[in-house]
């Protein structure tokens, strides 16, 4: 189906179903119950899941396949965001041109940076990308203020010269982003018993884009081009000896992953039309590294899982405070309750970064294939007697373990 083998088609179908029914799946707890705070099915967060999923899928094409660890990928996301907002300011509030221009601008930007950075490899490449990203951040924050809005960020205003569209709506407010009239913030709410499900137009636009991006990623992974990228990772020298120049392949991978980042940036501003320089800061680049590794670098679904996990922690786990913890452990004797709360508290709520850091370290130490590999290992435990377990992702994870990045 669609030029995929059976396993990949299955994986794609699963992802399609998951994204389609995400508003149900992420809202398993009834409204008003004490567990309702774990519901992640609100539009803003669901959009973030898929947008950062796209970002991580793109990063994975570079890091997972070629082994080049870029510490400056957020620069492309930022560049894409700025380009998207400018399209909205100058042309139209329709999201399509904004997204296209974001991808193109990020692609050109990554072509420039990749061309220079890819002259070195290993840690030098990481430092070069980091340096470029930090430079972009510093410039966006200070000198380029007329283009980027500087500290306040780039926002829409009431007197934007929008060529195809109006500067302001009849009631004097800024028009909202739309897709041929379908407003991105439109939501359809459906109440079933105690449950409330929200179906957001913006989310489904993002999800559709994400599915296309995911499909393209599968095709790249399975293509001869993807094989070349794996060759770059496992042994560049041997590749040279067989008469192949690795440079164009890595540059292509870099630009593709930059375009994915730009796509994520474009979607981000399509949902919420403002862009700030902090999106380019190196911690943002570090975050996508965390997502990809946590989920499983070199696997197809891993980066999406990693992105979902981190965004879930950032938005849900971080909201748990000590009062809620006390409520949870209230059934215990007072002394034990206090002890448990004291023990657990540093790891959740505002301390969620600590949990993230520990999880990340554990994954890097014990599970180089990320959560996907963890799942496979558990799966293998259960069906050891069956045929030798080779899941959909096995080849990629296997390869990562055998031929580490260099």
């Amino acid at each position: 189906m669609l030029g995929l083998n059976r396993k990949d088609a299955m994986l794609l179908m699963v992802v399609v179903l998951l994204t389609l029914f995400a508003p149900f799946l992420l809202n398993p707890f009834p409204e008003g119950s004490s567990l309702a705070q774990f519901n992640a099915g609100y539009p803003d967060l669901m959009q973030r899941f898929v947008i950062f999923g796209i970002f991580a899928i793109g990063f994975n094409i570079l890091f997972g396949l070629t082994g080049y660890l870029s510490f400056g990928h957020a620069a492309f996301l930022g560049a894409g965001s700025y380009a998207g907002v400018w399209m909205m300011k100058l042309l139209t509030m329709n999201v399509i041109p904004a997204i296209i221009v974001s991808v193109v601008v990020a692609g050109l930007f990554s072509l420039l940076i990749g061309f220079i950075s890819l002259r070195r490899s290993g840690i030098y490449f990481s430092i070069l990308t980091l340096a470029f990203a930090q430079m972009s951040f510093a410039l966006a924050y200070s000198v380029l203020t007329p283009i980027t809005g500087g500290e306040t960020g780039l926002q829409l205003s009431l007197n934007d010269p929008r060529i195809l569209g109006v500067s302001s709506t009849g009631d004097g407010s800024i028009p909202v982003t739309n897709l041929f009239g379908l407003e991105m913030r439109d939501s359809f709410e459906w109440e079933v018993g105690a449950w409330l499900f929200t179906f957001n137009a913006g989310y489904y636009v993002c999800a559709a884009v994400m599915l296309v991006a995911f499909y393209v990623a599968i095709r790249i992974f399975r293509s001869p081009f993807g094989m070349m990228l794996r060759a770059v990772k496992s042994n560049q020298q041997r590749m040279n000896y067989t008469g192949l120049n690795p440079k164009p392949y890595t540059l292509a991978a870099f630009v593709i992953s930059g375009m994915y980042a730009g796509l994520a940036g474009g979607l981000m501003v399509s949902m919420d039309p403002l862009a700030g320089a902090e999106r380019m800061f190196w911690t943002a680049s570090g975050e996508v590294v965390l997502m990809t590794i946590l989920g499983g670098a070199g696997t197809l679904i891993g980066p999406v899982l990693g992105a979902g996990l981190i965004k879930y922690m950032e938005n849900i786990v971080s909201k748990i405070n000590s009062t809620i913890l006390h409520e949870w452990f209230a059934f215990m004797p007072d002394g034990i309750e206090d002890l448990l709360v004291t023990l657990v508290y540093p790891f959740i709520g505002k301390g969620w970064h600590l949990t993230l850091g520990i999880m990340f370290m554990l994954v890097v130490i014990f599970l180089p294939g990320g959560l996907v590999e963890g799942g496979q290992r558990i799966g293998r435990l259960f069906r050891r007697r069956d045929r030798k377990g080779t899941g959909v992702e096995a080849p990629a994870a296997e390869q990562r373990r055998k031929t580490p990045a260099e």
């Binding site: 070195r120 070069l128 000198v143 590794i293 970064h353 990045a405």
Partner: protein, 343 residues
Amino acid sequence: MDAIILQILNGLDKGSAYALIALGLTLIFGTLGVVNFAHGALFMIGAFCAVTLSRILTLSHTVVDDSRTDFLGNPLKVEVPYVYDWFGQAAGDTIIDWAVPLSILFAIPIMALVGLAMERGLIKHFYKRPHADQILVTFGLAIVLQEIIKYFYGANPIPTPAPDAFRGSFDFGVLLGFDPNTIIYPFWRLVYFAFAMVIIAAVFAFLQFTTFGMVVRAGMADRETVGLLGINIDRRFTVMFAIAAVVAGLAGVMYTPINSPNYHMGMDFLVLSFVVVVVGGMGSLPGAVLAGFLLGILESFASMAAVIDLIPGINQVIIYLVAIVILLTRPRGLMGRKGVMED
């Protein structure tokens, strides 16, 4: 002329910090071959050693002072630091005042322990893993350390003043024959620079003039042969890791009066220190020091008003720009050795 001297001086303190951190990074890289992204966290832990010591010194107990009364006529309760009880008020005040320099003594064993624990507990297992994995695991460790500090000390910067004696500024210009008040430089920054020079000299002397240092240098050049000669080079490299941790920690301790420590100061410095290491040349100790001072001074020159007028925004990007140019034209860095981290 005076403006140029002033900028050189301004660059020295930041350059000293870069040089110290980069020196430690290079020591670790040169000996163990590990790219340590948690080195900035060590710098930060050092700074928080100073915070901790000054908190310990000001630990107090409440004493009822019968000689004074509050506005209701009750005897006044005053907080008396324990150091007053032990050393008397005058000496106690001096000790509290000198908390930051005293923290050096406090920080050395702590940083050495942290370094040893880090190397034995975690990094040891990553010698054979690829550099990308080393970067990632130490990056994770840096996040963890940073969050632990944040949990105990909060997210806000904690002001930690220098001793009174060094608080003022020093009219450097008069010394060189310029008009008074042209080149004014805070005392503490001079102290920091001198301190950095002493530490750097000590590390180099240790490597150059002791048997231990000689073995370590031999190990850096050819680890296998040294091992074949029956020397336990791993243990010596572990000690070097601890020394690198101490160097980063001391750089952090002494930096506290210049910039109030906060939990992300390590990361802020780390990014730049890596750039410094790469500019200096991976694995070259003199290169790291040279590049540290060079970039510190360049950065302060770039922030002169005249330069910013000429090229806007240059002060923000100069370091990265230099790094990019150096990496592309002189891939080994200023003083990089052959065969270290080459593709």
